[in-house]
């Protein structure tokens, strides 16, 4: 695989859910380094797009991961190829303890990197025997992120990691995402433009089930007019440079 070749190549992907045409021919690529941010207003199909990559929704089209066509593969096989997924609702198992949540995520053939996880989120080590359902929202998010860092993944898909978190926790989670992105390519779905600006990278803007813009994140965000046009005047508005916060 040459450096120019993208890690993920999504081509003309359509998704129908119960008769609704949610994705109407989405095409984009995810670079093999840094962050690719999937942006757009609420309900335009960002989450469905990442679910389509993972095979969590029935889809047509063609999806290539690391040079291999994964369109026909089942979800577990796709994930086992080295994709870590942090879903929008965090997807932690409430009835399992923190330690059990992590143990479940251990993948065969990998040495689990507990040192890294506990270094990044010491809270998880302290609360190892606590049921995940009793954790705060921020702690659950840390568990969800920690879970995918346990294995050596080739891509992380992180869906709205700061959604619904207290401002102080948003900063902590943002730090973690930025740090992770230095090591592993990340496909990030995010409404919090402060975080997007901070991790920079490429932007893919989705609207009404289609990709309407691709390019450098900073080029887009620096153009206030264009940002407003593509992403709408969100409550966060377009943030000033490098100020994390402003809950989505």
């Amino acid at each position: 695989m040459t450096a120019a070749e993208p890690l993920v190549d999504v081509a003309d992907v359509h998704v129908w859910i119960e008769g609704s045409h949610i994705l109407q021919g989405v095409s984009f690529t995810v670079a093999d380094h840094g962050v690719t941010s999937l942006l757009g207003r609420n309900g335009v199909g960002k989450t469905t797009t990442v679910k389509a990559i993972l095979g969590l929704v029935p889809r047509t089209g063609r999806i290539v991961f690391a040079g291999r066509d994964i369109t026909a593969d089942p979800t577990h096989a796709i994930a086992a190829m080295g994709i870590g997924y942090v879903p929008e609702d965090r997807g932690v198992f409430a009835g399992l303890t923190v330690a059990e949540n992590l143990r479940l995520a251990e993948r065969r053939g990998h040495t689990p990197r507990y040192d890294l996880v506990h270094d990044l989120f010491p809270e998880l080590a302290r609360r190892a025997n606590q049921p995940a359902g009793t954790l705060s929202g921020g702690q659950q998010q840390m568990l969800a992120i920690g879970r995918v860092l346990l294995n050596d993944n080739r891509l992380l898909i992180v869906d709205e990691p700061t959604k619904g978190l207290a401002p102080r926790v948003v900063a902590e989670v943002a730090d973690a995402v930025a740090r992770i992105a230095e090591e592993v390519p990340v496909l990030l779905v995010e409404q919090n433009l402060a975080l997007v600006r901070r991790v920079a990278g490429q932007a893919v803007v989705v609207d009404a089930g289609r990709v309407v813009h691709t390019g450098n994140v900073l080029d887009l965000l620096d153009d206030a007019e264009r940002t407003r046009e593509l992403l709408g005047v969100s409550k966060t508005s377009v943030p000033a440079h490098g100020q994390p916060g402003g809950a989505a």
Partner: protein
């Protein structure tokens, strides 16, 4: 006082029986969304296989070690039947919940009918080992000994299920899968591999319930499983599917309500009291299974 003790122990015994059926039912439903009507058939198979072994199988018998061998044979038969049902009937219909329910309905009718064709519709007297015949006096109440056996076995099964759930990887996968199957697959785990296992465990527990039910009722009949299954369904609705302990508590509650209502009101009203409890639970609470399953099967 002695009446209350008798009712409590008998209620616990009945609850134990319900737990053995409902625990597998709730695991299967929780993990796979399959409402397994064939579960009563596993119970029937377990009961008749145990009875058959106690009469015909060399080494097995109606008493002592021989009875243990007979029960082991019955449980093995139930486990095998459940495994075959999952592999042969449920698995090919994966993702089609309606069809899965329909085939288990077909099996729930066909299997007891087959048993009836072979051994007749009349109740068969079930062997009663020396150890669990007669009564024990506890706090002034003469309690049939088999009640204690039922409670002990159910407690062991509960402990075994809890250990399986916390100490083994498959146990973790099953517990997590009951909560959110899609997320488990997104972690790179093939959940389907654990489906057969869950069916086998459920079948084993149901077959055990068949053998113990034979002790409890003294006789076995082809359609015994179907009527017990209804109460197991009620236990699953009240207890929810996410926790084995919740299932155990609901089993005991249903058994108790039934016993006390049957004694203090007209016989038969206890069974109806259970249904009233169910209605009350549904009307006052939108949690448990009711919440978890709303709209799961269209």
């Amino acid at each position: 006082m002695s009446t209350v003790v008798l009712l409590v122990v008998t209620g616990l015994g009945l609850g134990a029986l319900y737990f053995l059926i409902a625990s597998g039912l709730s695991l299967i439903f929780g993990l796979m969304d399959v409402l397994n009507f064939a579960h009563g058939a596993f119970l029937t198979i377990g009961a008749y296989a145990t009875w058959w072994a106690s009469v015909y199988l060399p080494g097995a018998g109606g008493d002592g070690v021989g009875f243990l061998v007979a029960v082991a044979f019955g449980v093995a038969a139930g486990t095998l039947a459940a495994t075959l049902v999952e592999l042969g009937v449920i698995r090919p219909l994966y993702g089609r919940h309606r069809e899965q329910i329909l085939v288990t309905v077909g099996l729930s009718l066909a299997v007891p009918a087959l048993v009836q064709a072979i051994w007749g519709a009349d109740p068969l007297p079930f062997p009663r080992p020396e150890l669990v015949s007669g009564t024990v006096t506890l706090l002034g109440a003469a309690i049939p000994t088999d009640r204690f056996l039922l409670i002990a076995v159910a407690a062991l099964v509960l402990a075994g299920l809890l250990l399986f759930g916390t100490r083994t990887r498959y146990g973790l996968i099953v517990r997590a899968g009951v909560e959110d199957r899609a997320m488990v697959t997104a972690l790179g785990i093939d959940v389907r591999k654990s489906f057969t296992l869950v069916f086998a465990i459920g079948g084993a527990a149901a077959a055990l319930a068949g053998a113990l039910g034979g002790l409890y009722f003294g006789v076995i009949t082809p359609f015994q499983g179907t009527s017990l299954l209804v109460f197991a369904f009620i236990v699953v609705v009240i207890g929810g599917t996410t926790s084995t302990v919740g299932c155990a508590v609901a089993s005991v509650a249903v058994g108790m309500v039934q016993q006390f209502a049957n004694y203090y009101t007209v016989a038969g009203l206890g069974d109806i009291a259970v249904v009233i409890v169910l209605a009350a639970v549904l009307l006052t609470r939108q949690g448990g299974l009711a919440k978890a399953t709303a709209g799961r099967v269209a």
